[in-house]
Amino acid sequence: MNILVCIKRVPSPGTRIVLSEDKQEIVTKNLGFTISPHEECAIEEAIRVKEKFGGTVTVLTLGGSLASEQLRYAMAMGADEAILLQTDGKEWDPMATSNAISDAVKSKDFDLLLFGNESADYGGYQVAIRVAYALNHHCLTGVKSIEIDEGQITAGREAFGGMEIFKIPLPAVVSLKEGINLPRYPSLPGRMRAKRKQIEIIEPIKLPGGIETKQFVSPPELGSHVEILGHGVEAVPKLLSIIKELGFIHK
């Protein structure tokens, strides 16, 4: 089984996202960077599939040169190879992104291509599906459990409080959600190995068109209107009368 995992480098914001003055980007000066949580689970799932069936795990990202940090993290977790579709670091829209990804991998014959259900920052819900159509593969999204058996993948996703089950043949594109597994932390030897590994660098060609971002806007700040009911258990009677007022106590 040769598996591809597509990941994206994103800042990890704290309690508030701060915008640059021209509203063209978020200020990341004091922020760390991470991989979208769904995609971290995709790396973990790929490694587990490889551990069971053999093969290789390749991670790919489209981004600036600094995105190699996230590729190395994935290799430290256990991915074998990495591809960087190197850009000047500016964001590409989903059509350009998926086009670059499918161009880069179409000759590589991966059996399984794993994505996150949605990127943490962009949330376009589409790159995986576009890549699937470009490669002429079947695809499933929002998946929280997978099982592979004789060239078939059985996948479950949450629906109506339970799960709905799909079955498609390999090769396939599947986008995963956090919760499918608990990703491992890279071991120290894993980190050492990852440092020495080569990253294949490709310069992708950007398609024009798609969605053009004009500017970012912070959602309206809610003014604080909190009523502090008190400290400790003394405040419980007050809370109870509020719960009653709101109609949650039936008697």
């Binding site: 819900y125 405040a235 009677p237």
Partner: protein, 319 residues
């Protein structure tokens, strides 16, 4: 004209998909698309939401959900009726179907819009980023604008006089290939469990709960109020609760009447999952925690003492 996709599962309406109608009607004339014979039963009930024309897309195999086939059916309809916009709710299925349509037509798609403005030869949208903690203004140029609308933003207005809906039937042309990715089985939810996203009350627990066992009192509180337990990502990362309980950007978006956040600091990625709650009560040792100032009510103190006291008082009130 706007073509709005109304979601249903085997004839059960996804009420939330009606949220797109009020926005759509404020922009242009609206017609709706419903996929499959078993969606026929919901068509008539749509009159009170102001729907006049429902296009019913028919094929023998259009029974179980199959995103590629659903998308292709809607594309065939669109070829005939030529809508300017195809719109769906930003649900799991809504975003999925629209992305399949976008990929099949090779057109841009904007997910989770909060506002739409159709201009002469482009479309201006405001859409959510970072699960809702940031907004983006963007422009699309396209023959047909493919958009989904963020959930929990617009209310469903069903106050109109019940009127007849004109059903126009379309037999669509599909192949076996289109049905490969279809639902083949459904696992029912656990018996008697209140579903997190449907619950009227959600008791959320965070790192402050401290352990798996620490959730006993939260479970009890949820049960007393007829609600469900939710949690933060720290909790699922520790394995204290299953991920299905996680509220936030990479978990569930909940919109209960009451959210009780216990030992949760209120990082934006958690906040976007619970901010649509009608009332929020916080229990936190730290009066400066970000979630406190965003709440309606707060008790400052140790949840391990406060929640058992609430449970005790609730049981007395119920007796």
């Amino acid at each position: 004209m706007i073509l709005a996709i109304i979601e249903h599962n085997q004839g059960t309406l996804n009420h939330q998909s009606l949220e797109i109608l009020s926005l759509a009607k404020s922009i242009d004339r609206v017609e709706v698309a419903i996929v499959g014979e078993n969606g026929r039963s919901i068509c008539n009930g749509l009159g009170k939401y102001g729907v006049e024309v429902a296009h019913l897309l028919l094929h023998n195999e259009l029974v179980d959900y199959a995103p590629a086939a659903w998308a292709k059916s809607i594309i065939q309809l669109a070829h005939s009726i030529k809508p300017d916009v195809i719109l769906a709710i930003g649900s799991e299925r809504g975003n999925e179907i629209l992305a399949h349509i976008a990929a099949q037509l090779n057109l841009p798609m904007a997910a989770n819009c909060t506002k739409i403005q159709i201009k002469e030869n482009n479309c201006l949208v405001t859409r959510i980023r970072w699960g809702g903690s940031l907004l983006e203004e963007a422009v699309l140029k396209s023959a047909t604008y493919l958009l989904t609308i963020a959930q929990h933003l617009y209310t469903v207005k069903g106050e109109l006089e019940e009127s007849a809906v004109k059903i126009s039937e379309w037999n669509v042309d599909l192949e076996d290939q289109d049905f490969v990715g279809k639902v083949v089985d459904n696992l029912a939810p656990e018996e008697g469990k209140v579903i997190l996203t449907d619950a009227h009350v959600v008791v959320g627990g965070g790192r402050g709960v401290g352990s798996k066992e620490g959730f006993h009192s939260l479970d009890e509180l949820a049960e007393l109020l007829g609600g469900a337990v939710g949690c933060s990502r720290v909790v699922t990362n520790h394995g204290w609760r299953p991920h299905a309980d996680q509220v936030g950007q990479t978990g569930a978006r909940v919109a209960p009447d009451l959210y009780i956040a216990c030992g949760i600091s209120g990082a934006i990625q958690h906040w976007v999952g619970c901010k649509s709650s009608k009332k929020i009560i916080v229990i936190n040792t730290d009066a400066e925690a970000p979630i406190v100032s965003k709440a309606d009510y707060a008790i400052i103190g140790d949840l391990h003492k406060i929640i058992p006291a609430i449970n005790k008082a609730l049981k007395q009130a119920n007796d």
